[in-house]
């Protein structure tokens, strides 16, 4: 059973990801702020992190950096309503494994998750 950390400041989105991922048989831990992500990462290991880049306290890039600092190899899926930052996050910043845009296409999302957990 894989442990997946979901971070999004909107309760509905957290619920959505929780539903989809729990149904696929994974353990889901949800948090609402960047700081909580960092706290969780320090304490535990995760098989996948799903990260909304627009959270109120820390910006997406900072969180990604922090994660990479502590856990270099955990796959990260970054989630955003901005369609055009994909290149920056995936290629330039070079630290995330996938970039999905909102509204999320659940089929594509599930496929990506499976790919990264394999």
């Amino acid at each position: 059973m894989k442990r997946i950390l979901v971070a999004d400041d909107e309760v509905n989105i957290r619920l959505l990801f929780d539903e989809v991922l729990t149904e696929a048989g994974h353990e889901v831990i949800s948090v609402a702020t960047g700081r909580e992500v960092v706290r969780k990462i320090i304490k535990d290991d995760y098989d996948l992190i799903i990260l909304d880049i627009k959270m109120p306290d820390m910006n997406g890039l900072e969180v990604v950096q922090k994660i990479r600092e502590l856990k270099k190899t955990t796959p990260i899926i970054v989630c955003s309503a901005f369609k055009h930052l994909e290149d920056d996050y995936v290629f330039n910043v070079g630290r995330v494994s996938a970039y999905i845009t909102k509204p999320v296409n659940l089929q594509e999302f599930k496929a990506k998750v499976n790919e990264l957990l394999a």
Partner: protein
């Protein structure tokens, strides 16, 4: 021969002849002098004519109108531009009181004021009606006509048709408005995408989990499909609003700050507020959209000036900050103004939040969006005693090597 005194002299007939000769010589001399004088007068006349023509040419060639009145308010000069603007040939104006022509009343008032107070008017804008009934904006300057020898002789008004300048100003304002509308559309689109995410997401879950009947299944399919269609529409709106893609160049923060400073200097001076810039020398290379970043800084400085009273200070600075091996640039706009109440601090970035009478409430939302597009963020600290500091944090992350 010799005179009775014994001095040598000419004989009487010779003397007589000599006298005649002298008279002839004298007359000849006089003629020469008169001719020379005539030539001088002619030449002086010519010079005066040339000078007069020269001055008239200057007046006729000017692209500004020139109107001169004497101490009694009668027109002494009315150049070509003035004639065409007011539809009155100079011959109908020269020598007559300026007051007689109602269309020139605004100019007449300025000239009277100048002559009464003895103060030149540097720049005044008025609206006049031309001969064909058009209303045009006119930029006018007046000065006393003053001579060393005779003192005050009247007054001069020099004026220019500002219609073209005004229309250019209108066009610039218009395209600025369009640009802001574009940013507004983008912010709104982003806001709409969030609840849309829930609708699309949960209806997809329904699709996956619930089967009651074909008909109900079809309803859910429609909801899912239409939610994604809304998303496409939002993309279309954004394209239609001509949101130009970010044009990424190397940013010169010193130049950016200077540009912002010079744009806002006049406003700050009027308010009695000082603007300072403090740009570090060791800023790392940063690539971003300079037009958008400048808009952010202009907006923040505007807000700072709004909040600050006379005697206050607004500081625009940029410093380097390193976090986890990546250099960041922190640009701040700090003011010694009235501060933001703590209960509002959370809401100020929300779209349509404003405490001003004439605000759109989108300024800070747009600024935040621009920051995020640069992978950065905007933060604020404020207290009601000391003022407010807005910080735009920008990571120099674009050129990092991939992991």
């Amino acid at each position: 021969m010799r005179s009775f005194l014994g001095t040598p002299c000419l004989p009487p007939c010779a003397l007589f002849q000599g006298k005649r000769r002298t008279k002839e010589l004298f007359e000849q001399r006089l003629r020469h002098e008169v001719e020379a004088a005539n030539v001088e007068i002619l030449r002086a006349g010519e010079s005066a004519k040339i000078l007069k023509e020269y001055n008239e040419n200057i007046l006729a060639s000017l692209s500004s109108g020139v109107l001169v009145v004497d101490l009694n308010g009668a027109v002494t000069t009315f150049n070509r531009v003035a004639s065409s603007l007011f539809g009155a040939p100079a011959s109908t104006m020269i020598g007559k009181p300026l007051r007689d022509n109602p269309r020139l009343e605004p100019l007449e008032r300025l000239l009277s004021r100048t002559m009464e107070t003895g103060v030149n008017i540097r720049r005044n804008e008025l609206v006049i009606t031309t001969a064909d009934g058009r209303e045009i904006p006119l930029g006018v300057s007046t000065s006393l006509l003053y001579s060393q020898t005779t003192g005050s002789n009247g007054a001069i008004a020099v004026f220019t048709d500002l219609s073209q300048t005004k229309s250019l100003e209108e066009r610039v304002k218009h395209s600025e408005k369009l640009a802001i509308l574009g940013e507004m559309a983008a912010v709104m689109a982003h806001e709409i995408r969030n609840p849309l995410n829930s609708i699309a997401g949960f209806s997809q879950l329904l699709q996956m989990k619930i089967y009651v009947s074909d008909k109900l299944r079809k309803y859910v399919d429609i909801i899912v499909h239409e939610s994604f269609r809304i998303d496409d529409l939002i993309s279309d709106i954004l394209d239609f609003a001509h949101q130009k893609k970010n044009i990424i160049t190397l940013i010169d923060f010193k130049a950016l700050a200077d540009q912002v400073l010079s744009s806002k200097q006049a406003l700050a001076a009027r308010k009695g507020v000082v603007i300072e810039t403090r740009i570090g020398d060791d800023l790392p290379a940063f690539r971003g959209d300079s037009v958008r970043l400048e808009r952010v800084m202009l907006n923040l400085v505007n807000n700072a000036l709004d909040a600050t009273d006379s005697g206050g200070l607004v500081t625009l600075s940029a410093i380097r900050a390193d976090h986890n091996g990546i250099p960041w640039i922190e640009m701040t706009v700090a003011d010694t103004g009235c501060g933001i109440p703590p209960e509002n601090l959370e809401d100020i970035f929300k779209p349509f939040f404003t405490t001003k009478q004439a605000g759109t409430g989108l300024g800070l939302a747009i600024i935040q969006k621009i920051a995020e597009e640069h992978l950065g963020k905007v933060t604020v600290t404020s207290d009601l005693l000391n003022g407010t500091v807005f910080t735009l944090s920008l990571p120099c992350a674009r050129d990092l090597p991939a992991l």
